[in-house]
């Protein structure tokens, strides 16, 4: 089945190539993750035809890239997947001499620990994990993960039904790294999460439903990604977002070029194009995640810079951590711990 899909995909890729000997670039991006008029603009300006393909999870993308060498010139993995691809030797180096617009990348996101000097990846969009809270339902200030264990908020907290995020913030709250492999730290975090559930603080574990429930005022607090938080705040001004003082997770979706890409030069042109401030602005305004592009931020002005959700301070970003890839040999520990949390009564 997978093979059949791959063959079909490849055929789809080859069709335009056969039709004309035109220059092409094969782009593999997330669903709904670009302003599509930008693609036409790129074709008009450069004459390079864009074959635009979409994926829904990092893991899907990885499967496709490994199964179809040379099929994609640019992919958009998240930072932990960049790390995994690097470890598997799948990524080509980025030639920054032909990407002048890379100068606009924010300092806070440069030289990340998942990819030294950004040698193989260019940030495309980024965001954080934090607490979305209803200012009318929460008394006092929200500045710490501590509030997720506050017994005054019984049955009023939405947790994230996601292993890495829920374990990660608990580890951060307890003062550990989100990427720790220390068994005592992990078991303590599990115990903390079970305690939170047994005290009746957790209302539900969910992911996609939470933002709309928060807009409707179903709960006082929710652990949430910044992009979803912005969506909720736009619909309900009583909501506010906070990155707790203990630190949190910061994620970056990057542009990378697979090693066996057939159109490397065109890929560089496309990356440079997406880093151009006016184009980065268009994309940012289309999907409302945080932009890594200082030029675009300048163009958007106070609408962006005054927005705390989209534009956290450098100091706040410094407190946050990137997720590192957890390989298949260590993952069973995480999944067993999380299952015990979900099973606790």
């Amino acid at each position: 089945m997978k093979k059949l899909i791959c063959i079909l995909l490849l055929l789809a890729l080859m069709l335009p190539v056969c039709a004309s000997a035109q220059e092409v670039v094969n782009v593999f991006n997330w669903e709904d993750y670009i302003d599509e008029t930008v693609l036409e603009q790129f074709e008009q300006e450069t004459g390079i035809h864009v074959n635009y393909m979409r994926f829904t999870t990092n893991e899907d993308m990885m499967v496709q890239v490994e199964a179809n060498p040379g099929a994609f010139d640019i992919c958009f993995p998240s930072e932990y997947m960049v790390e995994r691809m690097l470890n598997k030797g799948l990524l080509a180096e980025i030639d920054y001499s032909v990407i002048p617009n890379a100068q606009y990348i924010l300092d806070a996101l440069r030289n990340p620990d998942y990819d030294a000097n950004n040698a193989h990846s260019v940030p495309y969009m980024w965001g954080t994990v934090g607490i979305l809270y209803n200012t009318e339902m929460v008394v006092g200030t929200v500045d710490s993960w501590d509030i997720l264990w506050n017994e005054n908020l019984k049955n009023d907290v939405f947790m994230m039904d996601s292993i890495r995020d829920s374990m990660g913030i608990t580890l951060k709250y307890l003062g550990y790294s989100m990427n720790t492999r220390d068994i005592i730290a992990l078991e303590t975090a599990k115990q903390k999460l079970i305690e939170q559930k047994q005290k009746g603080i957790v209302k539900a574990y969910q992911v996609d439903e939470t933002k709309d429930k928060m807009v409707a005022g179903e709960a006082a607090l929710a652990v949430m990604w910044s992009g979803d938080a912005q969506y909720a705040i736009d619909l309900n001004p009583k909501l506010a977002y906070c990155i707790p003082k203990e630190g949190s997770n910061v994620w970056v979706d990057c542009m990378v070029v697979p090693k066996n890409a057939k159109n490397y030069d065109n890929a560089m042109k496309f990356i440079d194009f997406l880093c151009r401030p006016d184009i980065a602005q268009k994309n940012c305004e289309a999907i409302w995640y945080s932009s890594p592009n200082s030029g675009a931020i300048e163009l958007m002005g106070t609408a962006y810079t005054d927005n705390y959700v989209m534009n956290p301070t450098d100091e706040e970003i410094a407190r946050c951590e990137y997720f590192h890839d957890i390989d298949e040999t260590f993952m069973p520990i995480y999944t067993a711990l999380w299952q015990e949390v979900k099973n606790a009564k």
Partner: protein
């Protein structure tokens, strides 16, 4: 990628053997019935069954008895008994500090017991609600009967996911029921995100599967039987317990099966209405397959579930050997 379809030769051989056995069974039945022409009509469905029932079951069995590399193992079933099985092995290799945390994980067994309990409750409630409804609908003196049947069918035109999501907007803290209560001057009540809400969702979704088999059997019942019982001196209650109820048992058994089976394997409803606070076995299988990408353990859990259902079906078959309740058992 971790899971592709490149199976070892013996897995193909197993599947081939399964197919040949299945075809042989059909050939035998054609011979037995001397009805080659009639059996030909069953050919499209037989092919469909082979491709989409027999082969997948063999695949599930294959994954349940192998590890990620495709080698034979029983670890997936050990994992069912001890959900920390792989974790404990890793801990044991990480030194005494980690080894101190080795405990048996009861997640899978607990979830199975919880699912069976919930399915039992759902079946009992559906029967208590469904039997009187079927009786009412099948009563020839009731003019409302046929319209009730339609009312039962109409919600089934909609997808059950939509119907479940609709329940959310009723039960929420800011939902219609609570708004109405507050308008009347009462305090709001917590209706969502607990086992009760899950049970409500299950009963709502599966009730028609209880009502219709019973309704079918009851409406086929000859009214003269009841009249005869009354002529012979039975009162209304006696007529029901001596005639109507025993004759409707095949429908009841069929209904129990049709409600119990989807109840045990329920997923999505616990996640939506229960808020993921307590998983059911279907959720656990989904979690293993989709979130954790552990097809082997997921398949072992599915296999255990299938065997449980087979066992309960064969018990119920004893109660309705002729398949009078629509042959569902």
């Amino acid at each position: 990628m971790r899971y592709d379809m490149s199976l070892p030769w013996w897995a193909w051989a197993l599947m081939g053997a399964g197919l040949i056995a299945f075809i042989a069974m059909i050939a035998a039945s054609i011979r037995r019935n001397n009805g080659v022409k009639r059996s030909l009509f069953a050919a499209p469905y037989t092919l469909w069954m082979i491709l989409f029932t027999v082969v997948p079951v063999i695949l599930i069995a294959y994954y349940a008895f192998t590890d990620a590399s495709g080698a034979f193992t029983l670890d997936n079933f050990r994992h069912f008994w001890d959900s920390n099985y792989t974790k404990n092995q890793l801990y044991a290799s990480l030194g005494p500090e980690a080894a101190a945390f080795i405990t048996r994980g009861t997640v899978n067994v607990d979830t199975l017991v919880y699912s069976l309990w919930m399915a039992f409750l759902c079946t009992v409630i559906s029967l208590l609600l469904g039997y009187p409804a079927a009786l009412f609908m099948a009563d020839r003196q009731m003019k409302l009967g046929p319209s009730l049947v339609v009312l039962f069918i109409i919600p089934m035109w909609m997808n059950f996911l939509l119907r479940t999501i609709a329940w959310m907007s009723l039960l929420e803290d800011q939902g219609l029921i609570n708004q109405f209560l507050r308008w009347l001057g009462f305090d709001g009540v917590k209706l969502m995100y607990n086992s009760g809400a899950v049970l409500l969702g299950m009963v709502y979704n599966f009730l028609p599967f209880m009502v219709f088999p019973i309704y079918t059997v009851l409406s086929k019942q000859d009214p003269k039987l009841g009249e005869a019982a009354q002529d012979l001196g039975c009162n209304e209650l006696k007529t029901f317990t001596k005639v109507t109820l025993p004759l409707s048992l095949p429908g009841v058994i069929s209904g129990i099966t049709m409600v119990f089976m989807p109840s045990v394997t329920t997923f999505f409803i616990p996640r939506m209405l229960g808020g993921g606070n307590s998983m059911m076995f279907g959720d656990l299988i989904e979690l293993n397959f989709l979130t954790e990408g552990n097809w082997n353990v997921g398949s072992a859990l599915s296999l255990i579930m299938m065997i449980l259902i087979l066992v309960s079906l064969s018990i119920l078959r004893k109660a309705d050997p002729k398949g009078e309740g629509g042959g569902m058992v």
